[in-house]
C-alpha cells in the first residue's frame, strides 16, 4: 500500500488534524468493462487543501478517473477498489445512488471541460447556482438561495452578478460560463474539488483569471484540488504535487518541482520534452513522443508504455511496480538516470 500522508507511527485518535485524515483516499481503483481494463491499480491521497495535478495525454484515463470518483461512470463501466472521502461514512465504490446524491455537489464537486455545454440552456444562471445549495439544504428557501447565488457569482468576479443571475447561459461568454460552473462547484464548500481541463476551452487571456479563481476558491475553503490537464505549464502554476497517468495507470508521482526537473519515468521525460517549445531535435523539429496513445484496451501487457519507449527491454513484459522513494514514486524497470 502506498501512503505518503499519514505518518507511520501516528497513534490512533491523536489529533494531527491536517495529516491524520486525508480529504480523499483512493486505493487500488480499477475501472473497466467486463473484459476491458480502463484504469488499473490507481492509488493516491489528497490532503485537505492540497493541490494535485493529474496529467497525461488524451486517452490515458484522467477524465474517467474523475468520473469514477464522482460515481458517474457510464452504465456499462464498473469500478472496484476503494474511494473514501473525509467525513463520509461509506465507500464511493459500491455506494447507492441515494448515498452518492448526498456526496456529489456537497462533499465533492466538479468543474467540467466544456463551459459552452455544461450549463442548462433554458434555465437562468442564478437558478442553476441556487439549485445546488437548495438541493443540499445549505439555504432555507428559494429566495435565500437566490441571494446566496448572486453572492457566489460575485465571488467568481462576474461583472454585474445581479444581472448575470438573471441571464441565460447563451448570453454569457465562455469564460463567464466557466466562472458560473466554478461558482456552482464551490457553492457548498466541497472538501474535494475536481477540475477536468477547466481552462482548455478558454482563450489564453481568460485562462489565467480562471486559474486564479480556482486557487483562491480552494484556498478559502481548504478544499483539496485534483486538477486534470495535459498542459504542464498550467499544472506547474496551480499544483504542489503531480500524478502522471498513462494507459490507465499512475506511472510517476511526486512534488511538481522534483518531477518536472528530474523525471524518472521515460513517459514523463517525453511529456516534458514535448512541451519544451525551445528545444529541437537534430532536424530542427520539436520533440515528440513516438507513436500514439493506443485505443482503450490496446495497451501492451506489462509496462503500458513499452511499445513507445526507447529503453524497453525483455524485462518490461512484467508490470513494473510503483516504487516509492520519499515523496516520489515511479513505475519503471529502467528509470531515467538522476543527474548527478
Amino acid at each position: 500500500m502506498n501512503n505518503q500522508i499519514a505518518g507511520p507511527s501516528t497513534p490512533p485518535g491523536a489529533g494531527i488534524p491536517d495529516a491524520a485524515e486525508p480529504a480523499l483516499r483512493v486505493r487500488d481503483l480499477r475501472v473497466g468493462t467486463d473484459n476491458l481494463d480502463l484504469i488499473t491499480d490507481v492509488s493516491f491521497t489528497l490532503a485537505p487543501g492540497e493541490r494535485v495535478g493529474l496529467i497525461g495525454e488524451s486517452g490515458s484515463g484522467k477524465s474517467l478517473t474523475a468520473l469514477a470518483l464522482l460515481g458517474l461512470l457510464p452504465e456499462e463501466v464498473k469500478a472496484s477498489g476503494s474511494i473514501r472521502l473525509s467525513e463520509v461514512g461509506f465507500d464511493v465504490v459500491g455506494a447507492s445512488e441515494r448515498q452518492m446524491s448526498k456526496v456529489r455537489g456537497d462533499r465533492m464537486a466538479m468543474v467540467f471541460q466544456e463551459p459552452m455545454t455544461a450549463l442548462n440552456p433554458v434555465m437562468q444562471v442564478g437558478d442553476q447556482v441556487a439549485e445546488i445549495m437548495l438541493l443540499h439544504r445549505r439555504q432555507p428557501d428559494r429566495r435565500a438561495a437566490r441571494r446566496a447565488a448572486v453572492e457566489m457569482l460575485a465571488k467568481v468576479r462576474l461583472p454585474d452578478p445581479e444581472g448575470a443571475a438573471r441571464a441565460y447561459p447563451h448570453q454569457l461568454s465562455g469564460g463567464q460560463r466557466q466562472r458560473v460552473v466554478l461558482a456552482i462547484a464551490l457553492a457548498n464548500d466541497p472538501a474535494v474539488l475536481l477540475c477536468d481541463e477547466p481552462t482548455t476551452a478558454l482563450d489564453v487571456t481568460v485562462q489565467a483569471h480562471m486559474l486564479d479563481l480556482i486557487l483562491t476558491g480552494v484556498a478559502e475553503r481548504d478544499s483539496a484540488l485534483l486538477f486534470i490537464t495535459h498542459d504542464l505549464a498550467v499544472v506547474a502554476t496551480v499544483c504542489e504535487r503531480v500524478l502522471v497517468m498513462y494507459g490507465g495507470r499512475i506511472v510517476e508521482s511526486g512534488p511538481i518541482d522534483e518531477v518536472f526537473t528530474r523525471p524518472r519515468h521515460p513517459y514523463t521525460r517525453g511529456l516534458l520534452d514535448a512541451s519544451d517549445m525551445d528545444a529541437v531535435d537534430g532536424r530542427g523539429r520539436l520533440h515528440t513522443i513516438p507513436g500514439t496513445v493506443p485505443a482503450a484496451g490496446r495497451f501492451p501487457d506489462g509496462c503500458v508504455f513499452r511499445n513507445r519507449c526507447a529503453h524497453a527491454t525483455q524485462q518490461c513484459v512484467q508490470v513494473p511496480p510503483l516504487e516509492h522513494k520519499g515523496a516520489r514514486a515511479h513505475a519503471c524497470w529502467h528509470p531515467v538516470e538522476e543527474p548527478t
Binding site: 456529489r104 467540467f112 455545454t117
Partner: protein
Amino acid sequence: MVFALSLLLASAVVFAFMAVLPGDPARVALGVQATPEALEATRAEFGLDRSLPAQYLDWVGGLLQGDLGRSYVTRADIGPQVFDRLQVTAWLVMAGMLVALVIALPLGVLAAVRHRRLSGMMLSGASQVGMAVPSFLAGILLVSVVAVQLGWLPPGGWVVPADDPVQFLRRLILPALALGLVQGAVVTRYVRSAVLDVMREDYLRTARAKGLGPYRALVKHGLRNAAIPVVTVLALQLATLLIGAVVVERVFVIPGLGSLLLDGVANRDLLLVQSVVMVLVLAVLLVNYVVDVLYTVLDPRLRRAG
C-alpha cells in the same frame, strides 16, 4: 407578414386547382336536363361567367370579410356550415391530440430511460407497430370490437356537447382513440429520441454532479430541453391529425369538416371544397404560428434581445 403571404399563396393555389378541374358547376347544380337559359342564369348568379382573375378576387375579397360565398348546389351560405363543422372537427382533433400526448409523453420518456433494457426495446417496438396502423383501420377495429361486439360505446354519430355532455363524451371516445393511438405511436418515437439526445448532454451530467438523482436530473433539466424538438413534431403531426380526422369522421359518421369536404367533392360543390380547404390551411398556419410563439417561451435562446 410571412403568415399573410403564405395564406395568399395558398388561396391562389387552391383556386387554381379548382379552376382547372373539368365540369361546369352550373350544370352540376342544375342537372343534365337544365335549359341553356337556366344555366346562363345560374352562371351569372354565381359570377361564373366572369374571368378567372375576377372570380379569384371576388372569392378572396369575400374571405377577407368572412364571407365564404354560397354553395352552388344547395345555395346555402357556406360560412355558417363551415363554422359549425369546424367546431366538431376541432373537438375531434384536440381529443385525438390529447390521447396521443397522454400515450406518447410517459411512454417516450420511459422508452428512452430504459433504452438498454428489454422493457424499453419492447416499447419502441410496440410504437413501431402502432405507426404502421392507419387511423381508419384503427377506427374500424375499434367500432367492430368496442361498439359492435362489446356494445360499450355507440359506434358513431355526434351530439353537441352543450346538449348532452355525457353522450357527447361517449361518442368522442372511439374516434379520439382511433386518431390518437396512431399519433401517439408516432410521437412516442420522437419523444424517445429527443429524451435520448438530452440524456447525452453535458448539462445533464452537470446536474448529476450537483447531486440530483438520474430521474430528477432528467425531469428538472432534461424535459424542457427535450420539449423543443417534440413541439416541432407535434405541429407537423397536427396537420396529419386534421387529414386523419377527414377519414375518421367518415368511419364514425361524424358531421365534421372532413365529412363536409368529402360531401362537397362528391357533389362537385367546388366553392364549398375550396372554402373548406382554405379553412384547413388557415388552421395549419395558425398552429405553426402558435408553435413559433411557444418556442420562444421554451427556449430563451430564441428570444430577441432587448
